[in-house]
């Protein structure tokens, strides 16, 4: 199934005041899930990753069924080949940076990899994200940017086949963010690893988005190329900035 989309999802879920209903497919290598805070974007990612079981729905990655409520299929989070990076990186506070990055290599995709291969993989990942000097540091001693570098290295170490980014760079200053995104793009180059990137920042969505899924109040309102889907938002922004559209 080489022509299967990266991801197909059809989800219905109620949680608290939020009623989520979404149906979409990912064919672009980089898609931005754009919408206001509280619209249910994070919940949607958690469902895709397998952290939440929705009331109903189906999720397929590369044609492989990861979840099908009606068919009673539920692949556990660690077996989905999905990397997930959250806004606040949940590094294990009792493990040093190397052990954090290597954690995912002990099971799942890294199964069977011997010790030396794992250590080499950890070295490679730290180098890719310019974190090789942090190897023996504890997470509690890292800065925000360093934490995200390590978290990114940890999420990518087991070679996931889909990467979910939940506003992971929201708390970082622009130059730092661009450095880390640059490292990430460097890693993605030459790899077939589609990314679903959650953002509520219009500038970010227009800048990075090859494809955009517009999301509000628990549902998808539009999907397509960034300039098309976000044309109205862009016009309003320009008006506010005083630039003639």
């Amino acid at each position: 199934m080489t022509d299967a989309p990266f991801l197909e999802a059809s989800i219905a879920h109620r949680i608290g005041p939020l009623s989520l209903k979404a149906e979409f497919t990912l064919r672009e290598p980089w898609t931005v899930l754009f919408g206001p805070s509280g619209a249910g974007k994070s919940t949607l990612l958690q469902i895709l990753a397998g952290l939440i079981r929705p009331d109903a729905g189906v999720v397929r990655r590369d044609g492989e069924t990861l979840m099908d409520r009606a068919g009673r299929v539920f692949v556990a989070p660690g077996q989905r080949d999905i990397g997930f990076l959250t806004q606040v990186p949940a590094l294990f506070p009792h493990l040093d940076v190397r052990a954090n990055v290597g954690f995912g290599l002990r099971s799942g995709l890294g199964r069977g990899a011997d010790k030396r291969a794992r250590a080499a993989r950890v070295d490679d990942m730290l180098k890719l994200f310019h974190a090789e000097a942090l190897g023996s540091r504890m997470p509690g001693t890292l800065s925000g940017g360093e934490r995200q570098r390590v978290a990114l290295a940890r999420a990518l170490a087991p070679e996931p086949r889909l990467l979910l980014l939940d506003e992971p760079f929201a708390g970082l200053d622009i130059s730092l963010k661009e450095e880390i995104v640059g490292d990430l793009l460097g890693y993605l180059r030459g790899r077939s690893l589609p990314v679903l990137y959650v953002s509520h920042d219009l500038g970010e969505a227009l800048q990075t988005g090859s494809g955009v899924i517009k999301f509000s109040d628990g549902g998808i309102t539009a999907q397509g190329p960034a300039l098309e889907v976000l044309a109205e938002e862009r016009r309003q922004l320009l008006v506010r900035l005083g630039v003639p559209g």
């Binding site: 952290l51 990397g83 949940a90 294990f92 002990r106 099971s107 995709l109 087991p158």
Partner: protein, 241 residues
């Protein structure tokens, strides 16, 4: 007080604490997961909806029962159920080879039940305080429940585990009602220090009672000091980290 009573006390507290930790660790983990709404079977447990349900509440109430029940009540029931008057008592007696009532093994059974909440509750508190995002991170990286428990939850609950062990031990050292009811007062077998101080006072041997009392007081204070000092130090370390 004599050395024999001290040895019986230490032996009872040690055996009870080890037994308690073996039983309490998995139970506390289960209660903590149920409270998080993740008590389902195997991989199916992620993000289940709905509350813990009546079964979990019954288990928690049973675990906490020894906190409020008069020890003599517990001791009485154990005496009846472990003695030769009932079928379970006779079965146990046949299994162990001697009646459990008025024996050291009977004391262990009674102490384990009596000190159960002191081991389980700190563990539940410790396990529940581990960030759910860390549990999610472990699951996303392919760790199953067992590996997450051993490599993430346990190391992050070290202080609670120490607290549970120290409380279980000291509480067993200090128990009186259950020991007297189920153990009787047999020197070298079931007479612990808390019983011997009682005997000493009955015999007007106040000097002996005072020595026993001081020993128990000093021991209990030191044990609690260890817990509070460790947790104060831990809190400072965390802030510094």
């Amino acid at each position: 007080m004599n050395v024999q009573d001290l040895l019986v006390t230490l032996r009872l507290a040690t055996v009870t604490t080890v037994t308690l930790m073996v039983l309490a660790l998995p139970l506390a983990r289960w209660i903590a997961l149920v409270r998080l709404g993740r008590g389902g079977r195997g991989r199916a447990g992620y993000g289940l909806k709905g509350g813990p349900g009546i079964f979990a509440s019954v288990v928690e109430a049973l675990v906490a029962l020894p906190l409020v029940l008069p020890p003599t009540v517990l001791g009485f029931y154990l005496l009846v159920f472990l003695g030769p008057r009932t079928a379970p008592g006779r079965f146990l007696a046949a299994f162990v080879g001697h009646p459990l009532a008025f024996s050291f093994s009977g004391l262990v059974v009674g102490s384990v039940i009596y000190s159960f909440p002191f081991a389980v509750q700190p563990l539940v508190a410790g396990f529940s305080s581990v960030d759910t995002e860390l549990l999610d991170a472990a699951a996303l990286l392919g760790a199953g429940r067992w590996r997450t428990f051993v490599e993430v939850v346990l190391p992050l609950s070290k202080r609670s585990i120490l607290t549970a062990a120290v409380l279980a031990f000291t509480h067993t050292v200090g128990e009186f009602g259950v020991v007297l009811m189920i153990g009787g007062d047999f020197p070298g077998r079931t007479r612990t220090l808390s019983i011997s101080i009682y005997d000493e006072v009955q015999n007007f041997a106040y000097a002996d009672a005072s020595r026993t009392g001081l020993l128990l007081l000093g021991f209990s204070f030191t044990a609690l000091l260890l817990i509070y000092w460790r947790s104060a130090k831990g809190a400072v370390d965390e802030r510094a980290g």
